[in-house]
Symmetry: C2
Subunit: 247 residues, 2 copies
Amino acid sequence: MSQIPKIRLYVKDPLSLAVQVSLDRKDSNYLLHVMRKGEGDEVSLFNGRDGEWAARISGGSKKSLALEVFEQLKPQTREPDLWLAFAPIKRARLDFIAQKATELGVSKLIPVRTERTVVTRVKVELLWANAKEAAEQCERLVVPEVGEMISLKNLLTAWPSGRKLLFCDEDKTGPLINEALVSVDGKPAKYPWGILVGPEGGFNQVERKMIRAHPECVPASLGPRLLRADTAILSALSLWQAALGDW
Amino acid sequence: MSQIPKIRLYVKDPLSLAVQVSLDRKDSNYLLHVMRKGEGDEVSLFNGRDGEWAARISGGSKKSLALEVFEQLKPQTREPDLWLAFAPIKRARLDFIAQKATELGVSKLIPVRTERTVVTRVKVELLWANAKEAAEQCERLVVPEVGEMISLKNLLTAWPSGRKLLFCDEDKTGPLINEALVSVDGKPAKYPWGILVGPEGGFNQVERKMIRAHPECVPASLGPRLLRADTAILSALSLWQAALGDW
């Protein structure tokens, strides 16, 4: 194949030479009616396990296109194990966080309920759909997992032993994030990590104490200006990737 | 004063003890009708030169409130000299870039016209209004300047000698951004810098060659995934601040 097809789709099926894959209704509609593709046209597929493959539309119905997989374009690569636990904010910026966190290589998104969290319910499927679309567009081979919304207390209780918890503390008393990261780990990261970012208005004092008391907690400051929650998330992820991840 | 007022406003007038400041129509309306403030209420003011001051609404008209400045809350601090030159994208994300770049400490925003730039005109006043609002909210003491839209060629021709030009090159051949930054400068930055980020779809080959040939150009890569233009801007600014800036 001389040219990598520009349309990338995440599928759940196994991918290997000469297998056939059926698309769901949404992706079939996208290929047929948004991208105006038809039989014989090529797209590329990934499933988070088998790398990226070129496939050709070979038939099926309008509701479920069939594709024939014919060439591997990229092998699956290992990605950093980096969770993002965050207090969800209003809809538009929530979509934005799912999209940006995917571009920045997060492996799992966990919405967290805190005292000052305004949003009380999060639709996991919507968050995941945003992450899927972002993964398709940013050439990632994996769509991040999305967890159900969980209280801060339960998050901390269930936090896996050995997984570092980078706490972006807006009170500015922690060490600067770059120093905090390299004092604990090196590149490529030895530990799995998670980043915890609070809601607009921050965590309350009881919450901050509880987080800081967690044995895996690594507190860090993001500089002298007050960052919005979504800015703090993007900054922390970028800095983590550059210091310990795959950048 | 026991408590710092939470409303912060940028003004153009000089600020010092016992001076009187007149607000413009927009800010007067905001204080009176959005925040429901009135005579005797306190706000805090900054002008980018004299630090932050507490002031009390002392009269004036509905169209132009008068405030009396009565106490300095913070001295003016020096901020890093960091420009952001970027290919503007559609409206919503342009507002977003102005807001986030302000939070991340940019000193000047310069919209740049490139071959693949979709937006052909940018309203400087709108960008600046977004930057002003972000500066008011993120506790910055400065509102970034906003330049008129300029062609890439003219930007490079007019680029000041001695100002480093961090080129976020999506072809991934440059060194990783953290390495690129520390190989050229240290913390706090010795040089003034500017960051150049291209449009969706990237710079074309002629443009890339022209940028790379610039004597101040420092090429850098932002990792293995394809970042959207707004994500690349936020990541590059965060990494610059952490490596060379005031974080």
